[in-house]
C-alpha cells in the first residue's frame, strides 16, 4: 500500500516536473491542435514519461531492497542490524525481583557472527547475550545463566509488564513471550524486502551472469532458452503449415467451411493451457508433447487469420483478375495470398505470443529443460533471484519476438493500413 502511494506520488510529481522542464510535449502538427482530449490521433506516448516510468520501477525496486546501486539516502529504512539491548526484570522463589540486561547481536542472514561477550553484572539475574538474524526472530533464554531458577519468571521488559501474549516494542524491535514464559525477540524489519522475497537488482544481474557462465540444473542458460524457443518455433511452424492452408480452404470452399467451422469455432476458445493435461497423458512430457501443444495453440489462430485474409479480399480485385484472364491458380497465387498477408501477419503475431506463453506454462508443469522449468525449480528452492531473472528473460524474449514479427511485416506488407 505504501509502495503504491509512493508510486502514485512519483507519477504525479514526475508529470509536474517534466511539464515544468520540457513544457508542451506535443510537437509538429499535433502541437497546434486545440482539441486533444478525445482526439486519439493527438495522443502520442510521452517518451519522457516512458523513461521516467522504467527508471522509477528500478528505483523503487532498489530502494526497497537496499540495492548497492543506489545511494543510501534513497533506501527505504532497512532492517535493524547491530547490537540491540533491553532490560528485563525477573522474579524467582525466595529472592527479590532483579534486573539484568540482554544484548542481542542482529546479523545479516548468511554471515556468521560471534555472540557478544557481556559482563554478567551484579545480582542473581545475570546479563545475557545472543544472536538473531535480520528478518528472523529468536527465543532468548534469559533464565539459563541466572542463579535463582526455582519459579523463575520474567515480569517486565524495559520496565513494561510482559506476559504470554503481551509484547513490548523497543527501538530495536519487538519483544514477546512464548506460552512457556520464554522471551522472543523480533528485530525491527524496516521497510525493505528480505532477499528471499525480493532480491536487489544487482543480485539478479549477478545471478544472471552466474547462470550464463555455469548453467542451471545440468544445462546452460542458452540451452534453457534455446529449448523454449525451439519448441515455440517448431510448434508455430507446423501450426502455420497446417493452419494457413486450412484457413484458405475454409475461405474458398463451402464444404471445407462447413466441415471445419464447428471444429475451429469450438477449439478457438479452448485455452491451450487446458490441453496440457491431455497432451501429457497422450504424448508424455517430452518434446513431442510440447510441440503438439504449441501446434494446437498456433493452428486455430492461423486458420482463422488465413480465413479472414481470404474473406477480406475486395471482390473487385478478384473480378479484375478474372477479367484479365487469370486462372484460378493464378488468382490464388497473385491475388488471394498476397491480399491475405496482412491478416496472416496479425495472426502470426498473436500466435507467437500465445505460443510463448503456452510453452512457459507447459514447462512449469513438467520439463527437463526450458526457461519455464528453470523458474519453477528455482521457486521450489526459494531462489527468488532466479525466478525474477527468468521472468525478465521471458518478457524480453516475448518482446523481441513481437519486434521481429513487426519488422518482417513492415518489410513484406508495406501496403498494410495504406489502402
Amino acid at each position: 500500500m505504501i509502495v503504491f502511494l509512493i508510486y502514485a506520488a512519483v507519477f504525479v510529481s514526475a508529470f509536474a516536473l517534466v511539464r515544468f522542464i520540457v513544457g508542451r510535449t506535443a510537437t509538429g502538427f499535433a502541437a497546434r491542435k486545440t482539441v486533444t482530449f478525445g482526439d486519439e490521433s493527438a495522443v502520442v506516448p510521452d517518451r519522457a514519461a516512458s523513461v521516467v516510468s522504467v527508471l522509477v520501477i528500478f528505483l523503487l525496486w532498489g530502494a526497497f531492497t537496499g540495492s548497492r546501486l543506489l545511494p543510501g539516502f534513497l533506501h527505504a529504512p532497512g532492517p535493524f542490524i547491530g547490537d540491540a539491548t533491553f532490560s528485563y526484570t525477573a522474579e524467582a522463589d525466595g529472592v527479590g525481583p532483579d534486573e539484568a540486561t540482554v544484548t542481542v547481536r542482529v546479523f545479516e542472514v548468511g554471515q556468521t557472527v560471534a555472540t557478544p561477550t557481556v559482563d554478567p553484572g551484579e545480582g542473581w539475574a545475570k546479563n545475557d547475550s545472543d544472536t538473531v538474524g535480520a528478518w528472523r526472530s529468536g527465543l532468548i533464554r534469559v533464565a539459563k545463566n541466572d542463579e535463582a531458577t526455582e519459579g523463575h519468571r520474567v515480569t517486565m521488559v524495559n520496565g513494561q509488564p510482559i506476559a504470554p501474549g503481551l509484547t513490548v516494542e523497543t527501538t530495536y524491535g519487538r519483544i514477546g513471550m512464548s506460552p512457556k514464559g520464554t522471551l522472543n525477540f523480533e528485530p525491527a524489519k524496516g521497510w525493505q524486502m528480505e532477499p528471499i522475497w525480493l532480491p536487489a537488482p544487482e543480485a539478479v544481474v549477478a545471478r544472471l551472469t552466474d547462470i550464463a557462465r555455469e548453467g542451471y540444473r545440468g544445462a546452460s542458460l542458452w540451452e534453457h532458452l534455446g529449448f523454449s524457443l525451439f519448441r515455440v518455433v517448431v510448434g508455430f511452424f507446423f501450426g502455420a503449415l497446417v493452419g494457413i492452408p486450412l484457413g484458405y480452404a475454409m475461405g474458398l470452399s463451402n464444404w471445407f467451411r462447413g466441415w471445419f467451422d464447428p471444429i475451429v469455432e469450438f477449439m478457438r476458445p479452448v485455452p491451450p493451457l487446458a490441453l496440457i493435461p491431455l497432451v501429457i497423458i497422450w504424448a508424455g512430457i517430452g518434446e513431442l508433447g510440447k510441440i503438439i501443444l504449441l501446434f494446437l495453440a498456433a493452428l486455430w489462430i492461423m486458420a482463422i487469420a488465413a480465413r479472414a485474409g481470404v474473406s477480406g479480399v475486395a471482390i473487385p480485385k478478384v473480378h479484375a483478375a478474372y477479367s484479365l484472364g487469370a486462372s484460378r491458380w493464378q488468382i490464388m497465387r497473385h491475388v488471394i495470398v498476397p491480399n491475405s498477408l496482412p491478416e496472416i501477419f496479425t495472426g502470426a503475431r498473436v500466435a507467437m505470443g500465445v505460443c510463448w506463453g503456452t510453452v512457459v506454462a507447459a514447462e512449469l508443469v513438467a520439463a527437463e529443460k526450458g526457461v519455464g522449468m528453470m523458474i519453477m525449480v528455482a521457486s521450489k528452492f526459494q531462489q527468488t533471484d532466479i525466478v525474477i531473472m527468468g521472468i525478465v528473460l521471458i518478457g524480453l524474449i516475448g518482446f523481441g519476438i513481437d519486434i521481429l514479427m513487426r519488422w518482417a511485416e513492415k518489410l513484406l506488407v508495406p501496403w498494410k493500413g495504406r489502402i
Binding site: 475486395a314 473487385p316 480485385k317 473480378h319 479484375a320 483478375a321 478474372y322 477479367s323 484479365l324 484472364g325 487469370a326 486462372s327 493464378q330 497473385h334 491475388v335 498476397p338 491480399n339 498477408l341 506488407v413 508495406p414 501496403w415 495504406r418 489502402i419
Partner: protein, 276 residues
C-alpha cells in the same frame, strides 16, 4: 455476327425470405464493334447487374450474351473491366499491375514491355512505373486501372462508374482521356455512370434504364462524343443541344425517382404497419 449481343436478358434474385427481386426484365441490345455506350438510370435499375452479366460474373436467369458470335459463359480476357476503385493490386508496382494480363497469359516480357510502357505514357504515368499503387492519388490509380485493362487488349471494355470516386477537376480530365483512348483504340466500351453530363459527353449511344423491374427505358444516339474528340469538353457542354438533352434526361430520371418514392404500394405498406 460481330459485336456484342445482349439477347433477352432477365435476372431474378430469389431472396432467402422467399421473395424474389426482378433485377432485369427482357433487356435486349446490340453493340457494334467500336461503339461507346453509356448507361444511366436511378439506383436499383439493374445497370451494375447488367454489366456483371456481360462480364460473366453473373449468369442471367434467361437470355444470353454473345460476343462476336459465341456465347458468354464466364469472365474472360476478351471482356476487360474497370471498377470504381479498389481493384488494383497493392502488392504490385504500377508496371506490374499494368502488365498483369499479359504476364498471366504467359507472354514474355519483351513481348509486352513496349505496349505497357506506351500505355503508361498515354495515360500520363510516364514517371510512375515503379511506384507502389498505394502511393498514387485516386485519379492516378484510375489511370493505372485503364492502362491495365488496355494492356490486355480486350474486345470490350466494361466500366462500372470508373470516375465516380474522383473529384470534379480530375474527373473532367479523365473524361477527356477516356474519349481519346476510345478513339485511338477503337474498343467497344460500355460505361455506367451516375452523372448525366458524363453520359452525354462520352456516350455515342446512351441508354436510360428504368427500375423495378430493370429495363430499357429509352435510347439515344448522341453527337457529343464525336465533337469531344476534337474539342474541349467544356465547349461541348455549352452546345445548346447538350443543355436540352441534359434537361430532358434529368427530368426523366427525376420522374422515375419520384415514382419509386411515392409508389402507392409503399404508402399502403406504411399505413398497414401503422395500423398494427
Amino acid at each position: 455476327m460481330s459485336g456484342l449481343g445482349i439477347e433477352n436478358i432477365s435476372m431474378r434474385f430469389d431472396l432467402p425470405n422467399g421473395r424474389a427481386v426482378q433485377a432485369l426484365s427482357d433487356v435486349s441490345l446490340h453493340l457494334s464493334r467500336g461503339e461507346l455506350l453509356s448507361v444511366l438510370g436511378p439506383s436499383g435499375c439493374g445497370k451494375t447487374t447488367l454489366l456483371n452479366i456481360i462480364a460473366g460474373f453473373l449468369a442471367p436467369t434467361s437470355g444470353q450474351i454473345t460476343l462476336n458470335g459465341h456465347a458468354v459463359t464466364g469472365p474472360d480476357a476478351e471482356r476487360g473491366m474497370v471498377f470504381q476503385q479498389g481493384a488494383l493490386f497493392e502488392w504490385m508496382s504500377v508496371r506490374e499491375n499494368v502488365s498483369f494480363g499479359p504476364r498471366m497469359a504467359g507472354r514474355r516480357a519483351r513481348d509486352w514491355a513496349g505496349t505497357v510502357d506506351h500505355l503508361l505514357d498515354v495515360v500520363g504515368l510516364k514517371d510512375f512505373h515503379d511506384k507502389a499503387v498505394y502511393e498514387l492519388s485516386g485519379g492516378m490509380q484510375q489511370r493505372v486501372a485503364l492502362a491495365r485493362c488496355l494492356a490486355n487488349d480486350p474486345d470490350v471494355i466494361l466500366m462500372d462508374e470508373p470516375l465516380g470516386a474522383l473529384d470534379a477537376l480530375t474527373r473532367e480530365k479523365m473524361q477527356g482521356l477516356v474519349l481519346r483512348l476510345w478513339k485511338e483504340t477503337g474498343k467497344t466500351i460500355i460505361l455506367i455512370t451516375h452523372s448525366v453530363e458524363e453520359a452525354l459527353l462520352l456516350g455515342e449511344r446512351l441508354l436510360v434504364m428504368a427500375p423495378r423491374p430493370g429495363r430499357i427505358h429509352s435510347e439515344y444516339r448522341l453527337p457529343f462524343a464525336d465533337m469531344g474528340v476534337n474539342a474541349d469538353l467544356r465547349e461541348v457542354k455549352k452546345h445548346p443541344d447538350f443543355a436540352a438533352r441534359r434537361d430532358e434526361i434529368l427530368g426523366m430520371i427525376w420522374d422515375m425517382e419520384e415514382e419509386i418514392m411515392g409508389r402507392p404500394e409503399t404508402a399502403s405498406e406504411t399505413a398497414g404497419t401503422a395500423g398494427v
